[in-house]
Every structure is written in C-alpha cells, then in structure tokens.
C-alpha cells in the first residue's frame, strides 16, 4: 500500500490458553497515519490480540514489527518504549488522583511531576483539542473526559501507535462524534490509530481500513468504501450468518407484565424516567438502546434489586412494587442476567447448587427449609440433558464450564421455575454460535408456551429476529416503539442515538 514500512505489522500471531486457542495466525498491517479498525464478535479474540500488542500478554508464536523493526514486547513498559499506547475499554485511571498525577504516572522521567509536566499536558490538550485540565480530580470527570485523559496519557508518552479498545461502548452519540473528531486530528498529525469495535456503522464511518477477526484468526481486510455493514457482519460470523426469525405471532390479549411510570433517581440525571409498557402472554418485547442508557437499571428495577425505584410493576395482576427480589421471583419471573459471572452463577459451587440458586424457596429441592440434594442433582441432570449443557457431571464447578454452557445452564434453570415472565438480558453475549442458536430456540419456545419475554440486547439482528415489538430506550426513557417486521437496523440505530424521529 505504501513504500514506507507499516506502523505495525503482525505476522502469524498465536496465543493459546489451557485448552483454548484465543489467537491463531493473525496477520495485520497498519499503515502510518491511518485509522485501522479491527472488528469481530465478542470473544473473537480481539482483546487478547490487543493485550499482546501492548505487552500485557506474550504471544506463543508470530512476530510484531513496529515501524519496520521486529520487537519483542514483554511488558507495557516495552510497548510504551516502542511508541505503542493503549486506551483500555475499562479506563485505567486512579479516581482519587488528579489528571496530572494519572498522566505522569510511570513517565515521571519525561517532564517530572511538577509544573513542567503541567505545561506539557496543557500543550498536548490544546494541540489536539482534548480540553483536559491537569489539576482536576479524575473522579469529578465524566466518561468522555476520562477517555480524553486516557488518550492524553498515551500522547504524553510520545506514542505513534494508539490502540483504542471498544472506545465507543460507554459513550453517548455526541461524545462519539467528539472522539472521532479527536481521532481525525491524531491521524492528521501522522499517528496511527488501531480502533477495536464490534459496532459496524461506526467502524465504517471512521476507519481507513478494516480487518475482520473470527474465531481468533484474521479472515479479511477490507476497504470501508466498498463494503456494507451486512457484508462485514457476514465476515464476522462466517457464511452461516444465523438469523433469528420469529414464527407466527402468539401474542395474546392477556397482560402478563404491566410496568407503569417506573423511575430511578441517579446522581445527576434520572437513570430511569417514566418508563411504562405492557408485555402480553406469548409476546417478546425487545429493548434496544446504546449500552448504558438504562437497560440494566430497568431490568434490576423490575427484579426489585434497585432500592429507590418508583412506579408500579404488576405481574399477572399481582402488584410486585413493594415485594423483595425473592418474592418477585416466586411470583413467576425467570431472570437471565446480563453478567452471568456476577449475577447468574456461583462460580465456585457445583452445578447442582447453582441449580438451586434463585429457587431457594421451591420444591422439591428445598422442603421445609431443608435442601434436598438428591432432588436437586436429579433435576440438574435433567437440565444438563434437555439443554445440552456439556459437562462431565452435576458435581463439576460452574467455573470449569465454558461460557456457552454456563449460559445454557442458566437458561435451563430459569425456564424450569415455571415462570410466566422471562427477562433475558443479553442472553447470547459472549457465547459461541452453537449455543447462540440453542438459546434463541429456547426463547422462541418460551414464547410459544405463552410466557411474556423481556429481551434486552445490543445485537439488533437478534432483537429484530426475536421480538414481537421493540422499544427503544435512550437516557432512561422509552423514546420509540417499532414493529420488527418493518423496521430496519438503520431506523433503530437513529432512534437509539436520538437522531431520528420516533414512530
């Protein structure tokens, strides 16, 4: 593509974890002065690759060339020395430190920790329009400002290559625009940006080149000018792009879940405000939205896990508003949580104990306050078979299972409690394609059985394919209702960012 050596050249990078291949034969060239996007599904191996490039983890095979010289990166310090900087998805900032302290940390030799450093920070901030003030405390900064501090940290160290890991996941649309403005400035200065994402529209709008990773390996590098997001998506998931599709409507007249005027106060603005909707028996209601717009709070408020929530929640006529989480579950809610490791499982407990979790008051495994291990084991075995959980046995620790199998166990458990409402938050996040198809099947089955389903997902295809109706959530409010039979991902996207008018 150009005569000069590429800013970064990766050849044959491989990385194995015990029993798993995370990266295999990765080949990427990043040209100088460009924005190079790397896209792939959650869990395709992008993060591992970036950790290798930043020296956090060492590759098992392959070579890394930076500006034409082969390097070995044993630690982040090595990477920094070679001009590679990284902005992590989860910001690496000390909240109780000032911006100055966060920036100079580890690079005190450059300009000290005093006024010289302060001047340099102001200079860089002004040069790239970052608007960062050195003496502010990081904890007082918003998300966008924190990200700019992260970028400034990298620039302060004189990085020529900047890696951004899922930088837009936490940003609202205006902040995304600002970020993209910053990135274009960096590019204009001759820096190279590696932009990791799974949001195809963003990638298409900002990148000069796009490399697609699937199952740990690079499958193609394409020019965004001649590519559509559909084509990218197919590259990401392979030819067999599974498309969820709902059969004939099973929606009934019976209202199962009635939510009225749900609110949740937050620190600056309400996390939820005036949220009202009904879900009928046999209906799947999909909630679309940019992450962090109140989806998690909505689910937790319905589950009774958020003290301070206002409004009414009724389940099949029963008022849940004053009830505890346990009582709500007993009333017939199945809950597939967003973060299965934190909310769905006891990782260090055997599967049969995990089967009891959330159903501690149900017969037959709990009777008169006592746990019946035999009954629980038997029922866990049933779930393992019915839901195709790949495990040596029910005494295996949940931690030892793969993500997809953990999720299938959770789905099986939640479906076994005779729920009338199933809340599924990102049910297929981070699971393999096989498990994904199975989980979609189970949700459809639940719908056929007359359950009401509340589906939260960041995957618009999943939402459109499974839902009977889609509500868009933006800054804690429902801002539009769509018929999945007619809506396009583009229309949803603009409603989610508040750009387009809602129906």
């Amino acid at each position: 593509m150009s005569d000069v050596a590429p800013a970064v050249r990766l050849r044959g990078i491989g990385k194995r974890f015990p029993g798993v291949i995370a990266n295999d034969d990765i080949n990427i060239d990043v040209a100088r002065g460009t924005i190079h996007a790397i896209v792939g599904e959650n869990g395709a191996g992008k993060s591992t690759l970036m950790k290798i490039l930043y020296g956090v983890q060492a590759p098992d095979s392959g070579t890394i060339d930076i500006a034409g010289t082969q390097v070995s990166l044993g630690s982040p310090a090595d990477a920094i020395k070679h001009g590679v900087g990284m902005v992590f998805q989860h910001f690496q900032l000390a909240d109780n430190f000032t911006v100055l302290e966060n920036v100079v940390l580890g690079a005190e030799k450059l300009h000290g920790i005093g006024s010289a450093a302060r001047e340099e920070i102001v200079r860089i901030s002004d040069a790239y329009g970052l608007g960062v003030e050195p003496d502010q405390l990081v904890e007082d900064l918003g998300v966008g400002a924190r990200q700019r501090v992260e970028i400034l940290k990298v620039l302060y160290r004189g990085a020529k290559v900047i890696i951004l890991d899922e930088p837009t996941a936490v940003l609202v649309p205006q902040e995304v625009d600002e970020l993209f403005g910053n990135l274009r400035e960096l590019k204009a200065e001759g820096l190279s940006v590696i932009f990791i994402s799974h949001k195809l529209d963003e990638v298409l709008s900002i990148a000069d080149e796009i490399t697609v990773i699937r199952r740990g390996t690079t499958v193609a590098t394409v020019d965004p000018a001649g590519t559509t997001s559909r084509e990218l998506a197919e590259l990401m998931v392979g030819s067999e792009l599974p498309s969820p599709s709902t059969e004939a409507s099973t929606v009934t007249e019976r209202v199962t879940l009635h939510v009225a005027d749900l609110g949740l106060p937050g620190e600056n603005r309400p996390l939820l405000e005036a949220v009202s909707f009904d879900i009928h028996a046999g209906e799947v209601l999909g909630i679309a939205g940019v992450e962090g717009n109140g989806q998690a709070e909505l689910v937790e408020a319905i589950m009774g896990m958020r003290p301070g929530a206002t409004g009414t929640v009724r389940l099949a006529g029963q008022d849940l508003t004053e009830l505890s989480t346990r009582k709500r579950r007993e009333a017939g809610i199945g809950y597939i949580p967003e973060d299965r490791h934190r909310h769905g499982l006891l990782l260090d407990a055997p599967l049969w104990e995990n089967r009891v979790l959330g159903h501690q008051t149900r017969k037959p495994w709990v009777r008169r306050g006592l746990i019946d291990r035999g009954a629980s084991r038997t029922d866990t075995q049933r779930i393992v078979e019915d839901y195709d959980v790949r495990t040596p046995g029910v005494d295996t620790l949940a931690r030892a299972l793969s993500g997809g199998n953990q999720q299938k166990l959770i789905v099986g458990r939640e479906m076994s409690g005779d729920p009338i409402l199933l809340i599924a938050a990102h049910p297929t996040r981070g699971v393999d394609v096989g498990a994904q198809a199975a989980i979609w099947g189970h949700i459809k089955e639940a719908r056929r059985q007359g359950l009401a389903v509340l589906l939260i997902s960041a995957d618009l295809d999943e939402l459109i394919g499974l839902s009977d109706r889609i509500e868009v959530i933006l800054r804690g409010r429902l801002v539009g209702s769509f018929d999945p039979g007619q809506v396009t991902p583009e229309q949803l996207g603009s409603a989610m960012t508040g750009a387009g008018g809602a129906a």
Binding site: P18, G19, V20, A22, E353, V356, Q360, A400
Partner: protein, 375 residues
C-alpha cells in the same frame, strides 16, 4: 489422578492441602531451631511423641475451647466475613454468663441453661454491633471487631470491679462462684489422670453438628454460603445481603459466646481478672486449617491443643522455650492459606481438562473460552 472418581479426587485434593501446609510449617520451624542452635531432633521427638495419659484430658479440654472459637470464626468465613472479634465476644459473654450463673436466679441445671443462653445472646449482641455497622454503614468488620475487642476488655474490667467479690488470700477479683448444682460435671478418662474432661465437650460437638447441618443442609445455610461466594449473584437470586450480614455476625457471635464457657462451668466457676484471653486469634488459625468444615476444625483444634500440651515440658527436657510452638502455629496460618490456593488452582485446572474431554465431541471455539481463561 485423572482417572479417579471425581468425588474421591476432591477428597484427595482436600487432604493434600493441609498436609502440605503442615509439612511446610514443620520445615520452617526446624529452620528457626537450627538457626537458633537448638536441638531440632529432640524438640520434635518431644513435641510429636504420644501424649501421656494425664495430658490427654488437658488436650481435649483445650481442644474444646479452641474448637468453639474456630467454629465461631468459620461461621463468618462462610460468608466472607472476618470476625476478628471472637476475643471480645467471648469475654463479654463469659462475664455475663458468670454473673447470671453466679446470681443463681434459677435452680440447678435451669440456671446453667439460662447462663448459656445469656452468653450466646451477649456474644451475638457484641458481634451484632459489627454486623450492623458493616451492613448499614459499610464499616469493615475487621476494623470494627478489633476496636470492639479493646472496648470489651475495658468495659468488662470496669463492670467486673463493680460486681466483683475478692477471692480470699489473693489480689484477684472475680464474680460470685457458680453454685455446685449449676456446674457442668466432667468425666475421667483412663486411670492415671486426675484431670477431668469438661462435660462441655458434648455441647461443643453438638454445636459442631448444628453448624454443619445449618450450613450444608438448610436453605438458610445455602443463602449464607451463596452470599459468601458471590454477593452479586446472591442479590440477583433474591437474598437480602444486608440481613444475611447481620444474621451471620449474630450467629458467629453466639458461637463465640460459648468459647469461655467450658472453662467457666468446668474449671474456674467464676469470671475473674485472670480469665484466659486470646483464644479468638487461635480460632482464626484453626478455622483456616480446618477449612471451615466442622470435622476439619475439630482436627485443627486437637492439633493445636496437642502441640500446646506437648510443648510444656520442652523447657525442662531439652531447654528450649515452649513458645516455639506459637511460631509453628502462626506459620501454619500462612502455609495453610498458600497451599490451599495452590491446590485449588490445580483442582480447577484438572476440572477444566475434564470438561474439555467431555466436550471433545463438539470442538470448543476460540472466543468461547477466552473470558474464562482470564478468570
């Protein structure tokens, strides 16, 4: 090891860790002895000999006390709560029990039962302060129980002075003696020993059984263990973590309240300024060694009591200070934690391989397991 039945393998791994810890502690103690120029061989042959018959009762008595202390700590551990305050809790409880039993408002055994209940209540209340502070104000129970230990010492000393009767011919003061009918009789083992084993040992065993049953067989125990393993998952499953925190501390304190009672009802019959202190910290070591399992704790308590008893003649026989045993016990605390962690990771790896084998039919995909490799 991989072809064993998984449950057998689990037991094997469970035994491996404490054995490893004891061996390590043995080596480190030997190293200290060598450096100090003390006779290593003689020390160990004295320590690890078969206890004389007259010492067995002492060992059992000490073990009873240590067992209860370990149990109290273990209740907290099961919920990820660190009850460092067993010391203060049993001090308050023993004092309250001594006053109640000494006043003898009820006759005979009824008085005993009342005093035991009072002790459990006092211990629970004292620990409950830390529980409430943790649950409602987010105060680390480690710091608050340390503070409460010292406060207990001061308060008990003050109230002791208010209610005390001076023992004849001594400067020590104590509460009124418990009437004979309300004491818990001991029993003799063997012929050559005059020391009686505390009758309280049966109550301790009962406490151990109750602990096991409550935690492993009941829904309450399930909730408590679930909260200890993952607060977030517990909340999502409908457990009130605030309530569990307070209840767990109350329970831990109630058991702690029993710690001083074997001594009170079987030996001293009153609470005085010389009442044994410092049993709470040994409880932490024993709970760790016994891995919070009632039988494991019993073995740990017996081991510690055995070492203590066997160390007594060290000074006379080989001219080495018996305090060497405290070093061993302290080192065990460290090695036991380290070896459990090493063995745990080894176990998880074994299990993951087993899962991988079970999956061989369906090839695991790259991304699927990535997050787990990070865990």
């Amino acid at each position: 090891m991989t072809n064993l039945d998984p449950r057998l393998q689990k037991i094997g791994l469970g035994l491996l860790a404490p054995v490893l810890a004891l061996v390590l502690a043995f080596l480190i103690t030997s190293l200290v002895l060598v450096l100090a120029g003390d006779p290593v061989g003689e020390v160990w042959s004295t320590l690890l000999g078969v206890p004389a018959e007259r010492n067995v009762a002492n060992i059992l008595n000490n073990a009873t006390v240590l067992y209860l202390s370990g149990l109290a700590v273990a209740v907290g551990f099961r919920m990820n709560l660190f009850n460092i305050g067993v010391d203060g809790q049993y001090r308050v409880a023993a004092f309250v029990a001594a006053v109640v039993a000494g006043e003898a408002w009820l006759p005979g055994a009824a008085n005993t039962v009342l005093a035991i209940l009072a002790a459990m209540l006092a211990g629970a209340a004292w620990a409950g302060i830390a529980g409430v502070l943790r649950a409602k104000r987010g105060v680390s129970e480690v710091i608050s129980t340390i503070m409460l230990n010292f406060i207990a010492t001061g308060l008990v000393a003050y109230f002791l002075r208010r209610v005390a009767v001076r023992e004849e011919g001594s400067n020590d003061i104590g509460t009124k003696e418990i009437p004979e009918g309300s004491r818990i009789p001991g029993f003799q083992i063997g012929e050559g020993s005059t020391t009686e084993v505390y009758g309280f040992i049966f109550l301790a065993a009962l406490a151990g059984f109750t602990y096991w049953f409550l935690l492993n067989r009941t829904r309450f125990g399930f909730d408590l263990r679930a909260t200890g393993k993952s607060t977030t998952a517990a909340v999502a499953s409908g457990i009130s973590v605030t309530r569990m925190t307070i209840v767990a501390m109350l329970l831990s304190g109630a058991v702690a309240g029993l710690v001083g009672l074997p001594l009170l009802f079987g030996d001293s019959y009153s609470y005085g300024s010389t009442f044994q202190s410092g049993l709470g910290f040994a409880g932490i070591a024993i709970a760790l060694l016994g891995r919070n399992h009632p039988i494991g704790i019993a073995i740990g308590a017996l081991l510690f009591a055995y070492l203590d008893e066997q160390s007594n003649p060290l000074q006379i026989l080989v001219g080495v200070s018996p305090d060497i045993v405290a070093i061993t016990q302290g080192v065990i605390v460290l090695t036991v934690v380290i070896s459990y962690e090493v063995v745990r990771r080894y176990g998880v790896r074994l299990e993951q391989h087993a899962v991988a084998r079970a999956l061989e039919a369906g090839r695991p995909t790259a991304g699927d397991k990535e997050e787990e490799a990070r865990a």
